[in-house]
């Protein structure tokens, strides 16, 4: 049912319409003139060339962290696939021949088409082996198979790049989330 709209009787000048049209034209041309002389103030971000600065704690693509000796931190405890609400993480565990007390992921796949970027895997991880601090949001591929990120991809995701969130946290540790441990092996 339509709600009653309070109506107002137009004044004579308003119902003559012409003055109101002129007022509208003045308003629109003022925007045009302002935009011609100051084309940099648009809110529009010209996306592929310019990018919006992402929030410090933005959850982007996952990366796997490594120990100083280069092995992944992950011990294949299966916490993340258990907690994952989208069931997108597949881990195949194996015995580490150098250290029989530890397991390690032979394969660690995340199906990015299923992932809902909730961050539960990061919170569940007891070894701080997975993080979503890359701020990479352009996750795309030509095939469904390529959308599954595997272990080596996630380990090397930030190759040569320093995660910016890490920098912010290092500079001002109070901004870091509770329980955050700094990457032991900062990527050069």
């Amino acid at each position: 049912m339509a709600l009653p709209v309070p109506s107002r009787k137009m004044t004579t000048i308003e119902s003559a319409y012409l003055l109101e049209v002129v007022k509208g034209l003045v308003l629109t041309i003022s925007h045009v003139i302002k935009n011609i002389f100051d084309p940099d103030h648009f809110r529009t971000i010209e996306y592929p060339d310019m990018k919006k600065p992402m929030a410090v704690r933005y959850r982007g693509a996952h990366r796997l962290l490594t120990r100083p000796d280069g092995k992944v931190k992950c011990v294949a405890c299966m916490c993340c696939p258990t907690v994952c609400p989208a069931k997108c993480i597949t881990i195949i565990a194996g015995e580490d021949p150098d250290d029989p007390a530890e397991k390690f992921p032979v394969e660690f796949d995340i199906d990015m088409l299923r992932c809902i970027y909730c961050g539960f895997c990061v919170e569940a991880c007891p070894k701080d082996a997975i993080r979503m601090d890359t701020r990479i949001y352009e996750i795309n591929a030509y095939t469904r198979q390529d959308m599954v990120h595997n272990k080596s991809y996630m380990v090397n995701l930030m190759e040569g790049k320093k995660p910016e969130a890490e920098d912010v946290y290092r500079a001002n540790p109070s901004t870091a989330p509770a329980g955050y441990t700094f990457d032991e092996k900062p990527i050069p």
Binding site: G24, T28, N35, D49
Partner: protein, 448 residues
Amino acid sequence: MSMEEVLPVLVVLAKCVFAVAFVMQIVPLLIWAERKGSAYIQDRPGPNRAHILGIRAGGHVHSLTDVVKLIMKEDIVPGHVNWFYWFIAPVVAMTIALSTFVVVPFGDYLTIMGHKIDLRVSEIDGGLLYVLAMTSLGVYGIMLAGWASNNKFSLLGGLRSSAQMVSYELAMGLSAAVIFLMAGSVSLRDIVDAQIVGWAPNGTFLNWNVFSVPGAIAFVLFWTAAFAETNRTPFDLPEGEAELVAGYHTEYSSLRFALFFMAEYANMIVAAAVTTTLFFGGFSTGLPFVDGAFLREHADLVLAVIGLGAVPPLLAFSAIAWKRRNRDFYKALSADDIRHREPRFFAALWGGLAVVHLGLGVAGLAGIPTSVLGVELGGDLVALAVHMTAFSLKVLFGCWFFIWVRWTIVRFRYDQLMNLGWKRMLPLALANLFLAALWIIVKETMLA
């Protein structure tokens, strides 16, 4: 055949080509202005992605890609259309839009080999009557398309369009009649000449019809009716997409749609040209004492003033274009991005134009037009250039006004449209006609 026999034919052909080219060249410009203007009104940057070799030209490249797209698209002929009328409808719309322009004068005269050539395509004396007749015919393209498309929405669009055009034609014709009375002629050339002379010095803008009381009222009425005649917002009910999908051109695709699209813009240009001629002095410059005779007599001086006067603004444009390298956008691009050329290109373009104008100015100071081309031809060419520029600027402003209004005012409801046309504009136009008659009598008795 001797040159004497061939020349008139060539002149007519050249003028025909010019009339078509004038309208068709403004069309892509208007499509660009529609996009960029609407964007700037709504605080968006507008089209700026497509580029040729890094030159984006502020979105002009998009018009070019549009043409390619429309040519390459599949031309779908629905099975249920009345095919003969369906095929000729866009042709009718476009032909009528283009042929209306032929009586509009765009300069006074040009003397070639002793022949005085009137600068309008057709030298018929009933020019204004021809314009009114052709704009009335314009509804046929839309009506035929709506009827032949053989579906409810297109038919409603065509129906609305014809009702709207019939209603507004009356106010339009009565406003034009005011100009008949004031000029004492229906030839558009006579109407322009009548606006050059008057109580103010020859050529002053105060002599234009719009600067008299009945003329101003007639202008507002005529201009409003022109919006309805060209089916532009706020009177674009024939294609009210919220109600009628796309109205009369729903079933058209590819180049057939492009013809309707171009006809709409061509109609705008013609409406702006006719309004310019009737109310804004046509090709007259609007400057005191600067009429055709003055331009011919002082051709060298005029050229020098134009040439040297244009140099500072062009250099300023060049500097602005050069400074645009420092925009955030260019800083965000990678160093080898091809689009870094653009500010340099435009700085060079404006700078080059400044040099050309400097050359023109120096040529004017040196007296080149009259000494090299001869007094007659040199004067004629300078006068033609000035008149054409004045006319084009007025027409372009009129076209911009159409776009400006479109992005300012919302669409009328159908009953409001009819109320405005029949209950307000028609009585006002009739009253204005009496006022104009009275005005002329008073003016003549005062002068006598």
